[in-house]
């Protein structure tokens, strides 16, 4: 039943290691399978991996280096001495814990709201028949890609007029109007076999009950994907919080990062320390739930 998200499952196994596809690769291994080929491919893969990891590695190095060392003329790839002074400094000078808390609170609210709204709408588009469904679906589809920059001036005024400018809600409510999850949800619900829902109907269950007691319990993988992607999106969001937040105490981590960079004498080591703090939760989530992330990326087209 959980297999309804079709390709991504196949893809996910490949992503998480060599388990299932090995069989297939072995057969094409006959095509290429000479040892020399493997050596060359391994070398290329290692070079690519180094390039991909280097920026993150460098963030860690600068975050733990003595102040100013990164821009000294000597070329070094390793701190002369590992130090936590940058972290101490950044916590001393800025309300980092508050910013972190703001990111968590805003992220959780946006995620909760968005996932509930997306599940309901996705189910309606996939499984319910009603007048105007196709028109509404097209409208949702059309607006999915519109960037906030296209309407930010009007959105800013709207949020001001609603009296939620400079508050959590000013970030949360527009953030929850995102539609990409609706498509993921719709695709998933279309994949649920008709017989299951028909059986519940024959048992006399109404649509709401079917949704809550039959469909939702089958949708755990979908819900996991939606939660992770939405949380990541709001955690990393920049443009809208930049416009909607004016109070230092309400900043999320990305806005806090910008605040550090805009200081008159920016301390790059401290900036990297904060960057590391802001990036770490998503890296941990990604490494723990890689399968779901990859499914979501592959299915929704959202990065």
């Amino acid at each position: 039943m959980t297999q309804t998200v079709a390709i991504p499952n196949k893809l996910a196994t490949t992503m998480s290691g060599d388990r299932e596809p090995r069989r297939k690769s072995r057969s094409s291994a006959a095509v290429i399978g000479d040892r020399k080929g493997i050596v060359w491919r391994s070398i290329i893969a290692i070079v690519v991996a180094i390039i991909m990891v280097f920026p993150l590695y460098w963030m860690v190095v600068v975050a733990f280096s003595p102040r100013g060392e990164a821009f000294e003329p000597t070329l070094r790839f390793w701190p002369s001495a590992w130090t936590t002074e940058n972290f101490q400094r950044v916590f001393e000078l800025y309300p980092v814990a508050t910013w972190f808390g703001n990111s968590v609170v805003i992220g959780l609210f946006i995620t909760f709201l968005t996932v509930v709204v997306n599940l309901l709408a996705g189910y309606a588009f996939a499984r319910l028949r009603f007048r105007g469904r196709n028109v509404l679906f097209l409208l949702t589809l059309a607006t999915m890609m519109i960037p906030v920059q296209a309407i930010m001036v009007a959105q800013f005024r709207l949020v001001s007029d609603l009296g939620i400018y400079g508050s959590y809600w000013g970030v949360i409510l527009p953030g929850a109007a995102a539609a990409f999850g609706i498509f993921l949800a719709r695709q998933f619900f279309i994949g649920i076999p008709d017989e299951i829902i028909e059986a519940a109907k024959i048992d006399g269950s109404g649509q709401i009950r079917i949704f809550l007691q039959v469909v939702l319990p089958l949708s755990k993988p979908l819900i996991a994907v939606l939660i992770l992607l939405t949380l990541m999106g709001s955690w990393n969001d920049f443009a809208w919080p930049l416009i909607a937040l004016n109070d230092n105490q309400l900043f999320t981590l990305p806005i806090g990062l910008l605040y550090l960079q805009n200081q008159t004498a920016p301390n790059y080591n401290a900036t990297m320390a904060l960057a590391l703090i802001s990036v770490l939760p998503m890296v941990v989530l990604f490494l723990s739930f890689q399968r779901y992330f990859v499914q979501g990326f592959a299915r929704s087209g959202i990065r």
Partner: protein, 313 residues
């Protein structure tokens, strides 16, 4: 499927239920449908459709922050046509798109082919390539700012060490743009790889075996089997990458701020600058409408062709 059978049942002439009851049940179903959609519709109406209409209205007004706005008709759009910075931003957006999209896609395909082959520790390599996707644009931009730092940043130090000249990543327009392009590719290549991997796994291995028996080289196999058969993925990625490139904001905002001069200013950053820094909100809204129209065009193309992609999926 469902809608077909359902319609068949509804139109059956021998339906035992009286017409009124049937209409009532259909109305009930419609109500439930709208009920499920209500939260989504409410949010979208207030925070999406309303701002779109409002932006349209603002784009016909002259409103510089305070004071009552003045209706100026098409003046903002006329200004846009004659504004060299707007055209420069437009041009930069296109150059940025032309530089990022092909490299990301070709790179993504190559990595997918590599990662689909026999390779030790394949899972680890894949994880590493996808990892930048979860790093925020702001953090990426700041890390890149340090790596590309002009005076004694790591890249320039390495260039000097191997006997090359350091590059003016911040004070020269083209290198500044290229530094943003490189970071954008770093962020996005994993996504391209994922989509291509899904495409590759739909190709029958027998095809390659047959080609090998016919004596096709690996390059010939890539050209005549792999590339044509991942065509739908390619098209999907083309649209998604173009949209993403057209909307690049965080990286430019953090890395260059549109500078030096306006040499890395793009449409979205220029709209922001007018709306929130110069505070010519009517003009900023007009640029926003241009972005909106371009986005809708690409979305339309994507939608028209999404069927082919679904077949691949």
């Amino acid at each position: 499927m469902t809608s077909l059978t359902a319609r068949g049942r509804d139109s059956a002439p021998l339906s035992p239920r009286p017409r009124a009851a049937r209409r009532a049940s259909r109305l009930r179903e419609s109500l439930i449908g709208w009920g499920f959609l209500a939260p989504n519709l409410t949010l979208m109406a207030i925070f999406l459709f309303l701002p779109i209409l409002w932006a349209l209205q603002l784009s016909f007004q002259d409103s510089r922050g305070f004071g009552s706005p003045e209706w100026v008709g098409l003046k903002n759009y006329a200004k846009l046509v004659g504004d060299p910075v707007f055209w420069q931003s437009f041009g930069n957006t296109i150059v940025f798109t032309i530089l990022t999209v092909p490299i990301t896609m070709v790179g993504g395909l190559c990595l997918a082919v590599l990662m689909n082959s026999v390779l030790p520790a394949r899972g680890v390599f894949r994880t590493v390539i996808v990892l930048p996707m979860v790093i925020s644009g702001v953090a990426s931009g700041m890390i890149a700012g340090i790596i590309f730092y002009q005076s004694n940043g790591i890249i320039n130090k390495v260039l000097s060490a191997v006997g090359l000249y350091p590059v003016a990543w911040q004070s020269d327009g083209l290198p500044a743009l290229i530094s943003v392009v490189i970071v954008a590719i770093w962020l996005r290549i994993g996504f391209n790889m994922i989509i291509y991997l899904a495409g590759l796994q739909g190709i029958e291995p027998q095809l390659y075996e047959a080609a090998r028996i016919d004596g096709a080289s690996r390059w010939q196999q890539l050209r005549s089997i792999t590339v044509p058969l991942v065509g739908p993925s390619t098209f999907f990625l083309l649209i998604m990458n173009v949209i993403a490139s057209f909307q690049v904001f965080d990286l430019i905002f953090v890395m260059t701020g549109g500078g030096p001069g306006n040499s890395t200013s793009v449409l979205v950053t220029y709209a922001y600058r007018n709306g929130f820094q110069i505070r010519e909100q009517g003009y900023g809204a007009a640029i926003g409408i241009v972005i909106l129209i371009i986005t809708l065009l690409f979305t339309f193309v994507q939608w028209k062709t999404s069927r082919t992609r679904d077949q691949v999926g």
